[in-house]
């Protein structure tokens, strides 16, 4: 086994029971990411959206994750404490299936960056009802596997094409760059 390093993991804990649906998180997120900073705000640009349905008591703050080019083939539904949630209510993807997490004018995907440069994400800061709280923890992460993986890959290539051909290709590729 290889060495391990300590990595800081930032996470936001979402307590849906505490959310009062005020959407201050959406407001401050869009203001922070405006250019210049705080010069404008617009919840439609926010990287956090409260998926809500007040009459059915559904309040789920969701953070923008990765972009996906295609929506899921099928959908699930979750029933939690008697309340029915669409699967998408918990999904972080910027996805063709919904308007969330896309720049309203360009349609480009948005992704939460944990408010880079700030002590903690501003949505957490502005959520004084504590529906959103910030947690930072250290995790030990192995650094080796990636190298091993590369080695295994190269071995497979050498097996298939022979050492000379592989070396030749690698040197041609490196001289190009």
């Amino acid at each position: 086994m290889g060495d391990t390093i300590k990595k800081k993991i930032k996470s936001i804990k979402i307590d849906v029971d505490k959310c009062n649906g005020c959407r201050a998180c959406e407001m401050i997120c869009s203001a922070f990411h405006a250019n210049p900073k705080y010069s404008s705000n617009n919840p439609a640009r926010s990287r956090i959206r409260v998926i809500w349905d007040p009459l059915r008591d559904i309040y789920v703050p969701v953070y923008a994750g990765e972009y996906t080019p295609a929506e899921c083939a099928g959908r699930d539904k979750y029933v939690i404490n008697g309340k029915e949630y669409e699967e998408c209510a918990f999904c972080r993807a910027s996805c063709p299936s919904r308007p969330e997490f896309k720049e309203p004018d360009s349609g480009l995907p948005l992704k939460c960056d944990m408010c880079e440069g700030e002590e903690k994400p501003l949505c957490v800061e502005w959520c004084i009802t504590d529906a959103l709280t910030f947690e930072e923890r250290e995790e030990e992460v192995e650094v080796q596997p990636e190298i091993e993986e590369l080695e295994a890959g190269l071995e497979a290539l050498i097996d298939k094409y022979g050492l000379d051909k592989t070396l030749e290709t690698v040197s041609r590729l490196t001289s190009k760059t």
Binding site: Y38, P99, T129
Partner: protein, 653 residues
């Protein structure tokens, strides 16, 4: 470049189906700020006094406040203005929630409705796209139900919908405009919406709102947030719980209703039940609220949780806040379970939570006293609660006696006659008031009740404690961190104010002090109503986060209009006078400026005369309550002066 506001009004002519986007004049923003201020300007210019409330020429204006949609915490109110069918004066009811910021994000400061649609329609606004859509399928639907149906029909769960229920469609004089989370209820503005044939306005916006000086503005917001947190941790000692903290009175949170149930009147604002509250009732009401309340909820960008989602057994879910929790309960001499159940139906029908229960209690009283009979009310049930459900349906559908009652207690009494007038005893300017009857005249409240143009005490009181504190020590403690006062002298007024003795009511605070105190309270409400700020974080509670010292900074950094306390006060005075002028032009005079006859048992006619005289003088009005030519010109309201002279309302010099 416009900051805080979008600079665009949406003008919709319902008669012709015409939709226009009109640039507003930035000069108007400087002079009248926005919201109520600019609404008043438009009503003055375009709705002359000859226009009837139900004329196509009456306007119904939905306005976001100047700072709605900016990061200003709690700034989310929609100010709806029109001519009220009930008072026949200017109505400016407001609602919190999410509608106003959404309108801003769609790119508009106001929606101005004129004309009348021949069939029931609803308006759909999605950024630049605005359409008038058929609403035949929504006829007779509840206000909350309508919002849900529109969201489904347009497949847009993010739409914010302001809708009327059956009451508005049938032009009930106390019909509200409901927005799910809150409503604009006072003055019968829902009836005007129904008269125009508009069931709902659904809005969705995805555009930016800019502020002029971002870093400065954000710092101001952070200060407000920090102060809210501090204030929440430091409730004011010595006042009852609902007045100790911030926000709208926290009725959805509080279980102890001893104060309301024993001090406010039951029935048709008649009976005080001094020993009502006991352990058994406390336990039962707590169980009721706990079992029906699913969640405490907020309006847009506000950490306060003034509202709640309520699900009474066998009824649909609705949202409620503040004192409508008890108005139905107390009007019917019933319990909280009944109150929360009938309020669900009333919210769907879209009626005002102050007027509706009072009108029904008035009808019951008339029946019990033989003025209304079985002949007038065939099928009137025997059971008390059943009677209220029965009356509510009759009223919102304007069926039988309901058609008479739907005009409110004042007009209904006129029609019924036979001495019914004496039972319509709790109105000011024909508008039903809080069910409150007290003993000793409070001179500050006398002025506010008499002159409050919103005709609703909760929309003018605030800032200054409602009653003196018992000890000097407690008063000294209170003034220590009372930095919200416009001037140090207000602290002195309060320090010297005693519950008994020489410096007690009604002769202390003195006439001049009372005018000063009322002027401050009124000014803060007028600022809120132009900016779209919730009174719960500003003009209503004691020691609020927004006040006369930081408001000019918010306007400067937010809207880019240079403003100090003096210019802000001047602007407020300008549109406060303009609201007065609209009402004066519609015939309101000194004789109308009075509280309900029986509001206080102990009255002081000479003192009351002095109070009104002094208040008018301070405002620059003549003794009949009409702003003078000199005052109008000083405020840049020369056009009002000219009109008053032409109409003979004022005599030329």
């Amino acid at each position: 470049m416009r900051y805080a506001e979008t600079g665009v009004y949406l003008e919709i002519d319902l008669s012709r189906g015409n939709i226009e986007k009109v640039q507003s004049d930035p000069k108007d923003t400087e002079l009248y700020l926005g919201g109520l201020g600019t609404n008043a300007k438009i009503l003055w210019e375009r709705v002359p006094p000859e226009v009837e409330p139900f004329s196509p020429d009456n306007l119904l204006i939905f306005s976001a406040g100047l700072l709605c949609g900016t990061p200003a915490i709690g700034c989310n109110r929609t100010i709806v203005s029109t001519i009220s069918p009930q008072t026949r004066l200017m109505a400016f009811s407001m609602m919190g929630g999410f509608w106003a910021p959404e309108l801003k994000f769609a790119g508009y400061d106001k929606v101005i409705l004129r004309g009348k649609s021949s069939n029931l329609v609803y308006i759909h606004i999605h950024d630049d796209k605005v359409e008038i859509r058929d609403a035949a399928h929504l006829k007779g639907k509840g206000a909350i139900e309508t919002a849900d149906l529109i969201r489904k029909e347009l497949k847009d769960p993010k739409l914010q919908v302001a809708a009327i229920g059956t009451a508005g469609e049938n032009r009930v004089f106390f019909a509200s405009i409901e927005q799910g989370r809150s409503s604009a209820s006072r003055g019968g503005i829902g009836a005007v919406m129904g008269d125009k044939g508009v069931k709902a306005i659904a809005v969705r916006g995805t555009k930016d709102i800019y502020v002029a000086r971002p870093a400065e503005f954000l710092k101001l917001c952070q200060e407000v947030m920090a102060y809210i947190q501090w204030r929440e941790a430091h409730p004011i000692p010595g006042v009852m719980p609902i007045l100790a903290g911030l926000g709208s009175p926290q009725e959805m949170k509080v279980h102890d209703e001893k104060w309301h149930t024993e001090n406010f009147m039951w029935g048709n604002s008649r009976v005080r039940r001094k020993d009502f509250w006991n352990e058994e009732i406390a336990k039962k009401w707590m169980e009721t609220l706990e079992s029906m309340r699913t969640r405490l909820i907020s309006c847009y960008n506000c950490p306060m949780k003034c509202g709640a989602t309520i699900t009474p057994p066998g009824h649909s879910t609705y949202m409620m806040k503040c004192f409508s929790k008890l108005t139905y309960t107390m009007a019917a001499f019933s319990d909280l379970e009944f109150g929360l159940k009938i309020a669900q139906i009333a919210t769907e029908h879209g009626v005002d939570g102050f007027s509706a229960p009072q009108v029904m209690a008035f009808a019951v009283e008339l029946y019990e006293n033989g003025i209304l009979t079985d002949e007038d009310m065939p099928g009137f049930p025997q059971g008390n609660e059943e009677r209220f459900y029965w009356l509510l349906e009759k009223i919102v559908h304007r069926e039988g006696i309901g058609d008479v009652l739907a005009d409110g207690t004042y007009w209904a009494a006129q029609k019924i006659g036979k001495g019914a007038e004496a039972y319509a005893h709790n109105t000011i300017k024909k508008h039903e008031q809080l069910p409150l009857k007290l003993s000793m005249l409070n001179p500050i409240y006398f002025l506010m009740y008499s002159t409050g143009e919103k005709i609703n005490i909760t929309q003018i009181e605030g800032q200054f404690p409602q009653a003196p504190f018992p000890t000097r020590e407690a008063r000294e403690e209170f003034v220590k961190d009372w930095f919200q006062v416009p001037h140090e002298r207000f602290k002195q007024y309060f320090l010297d104010w005693e519950p008994r003795g020489e410096k007690s009511m009604p002769f202390y605070p003195t006439v001049e002090m009372c005018c000063d105190i009322v002027d401050w309270q009124e000014r803060m409400h007028y600022i809120d109503d132009a900016l779209g700020m919730c009174a719960g974080l500003s003009s209503f509670p004691l020691k609020p986060p927004y006040h006369i010292h930081n408001y000019p900074k918010f306007i400067s950094a937010g809207a880019g209009i240079e403003m100090d306390e003096e210019t802000l006060t001047e602007a407020t005075k300008r549109y406060r006078t303009l609201v007065r002028a609209i009402n004066i032009r519609r015939g309101m005079r000194r004789a109308d400026d009075k509280p309900p006859e029986n509001h206080w048992k102990k009255r002081f006619p000479e003192l009351e005369k002095q109070l009104l005289d002094a208040y008018y003088q301070m405002k620059g009005w003549n003794l009949d309550g009409i702003p003078t030519v000199e005052t109008l010109k000083k405020l840049g309201l020369d056009y009002v002066a000219k009109d008053f002279l032409e109409r003979g309302i004022l005599e030329g010099a």
